[in-house]
Symmetry: C2
């Protein structure tokens, strides 16, 4: 069975961290200055974000960018 | 004095790791499947790469993506 793609793993991590923080997609998108539909695309692994988006999301989710990336690695 | 932008820090880390490996920009661009002019843009902090490019570069430079991101964090 094929594992998730990088983008899917990224989306899963973002969604898990968001739910852990008790945040809605609206709240997360507001915090990271992105549109809610973009956050929704990311969570479904439909877009490969830039490292700037990675940084903004990590800050909004109160984890370090490196910790976010480690979580992605562990899903691949 | 303002520190480097995220993109500049990324570029510095890529360049440092590339030189540590004794690789030319040509060799790195071949290894990561990107054009040399794109790698040159990245090293000068002129482009915000996608996480897929981050992953490809980390693999080509033989470090983990999380380790690459930690190095960027330490420059900011």
């Amino acid at each position: 069975m094929a594992g998730p793609t990088l983008e899917e793993a990224f989306g899963q991590v973002i969604r898990e961290l968001r739910l852990k923080q008790g945040m809605s997609q609206e709240e997360l998108s507001f915090e990271c200055g992105r549109h809610r539909t973009y956050v929704s695309l990311l969570e479904r692994g439909r877009n490969s974000p830039s490292i700037r988006t990675l940084w903004m999301l990590a800050e909004a989710l109160q984890v370090s960018p490196a910790s976010l990336v480690r979580r992605i690695e562990s899903k691949l």
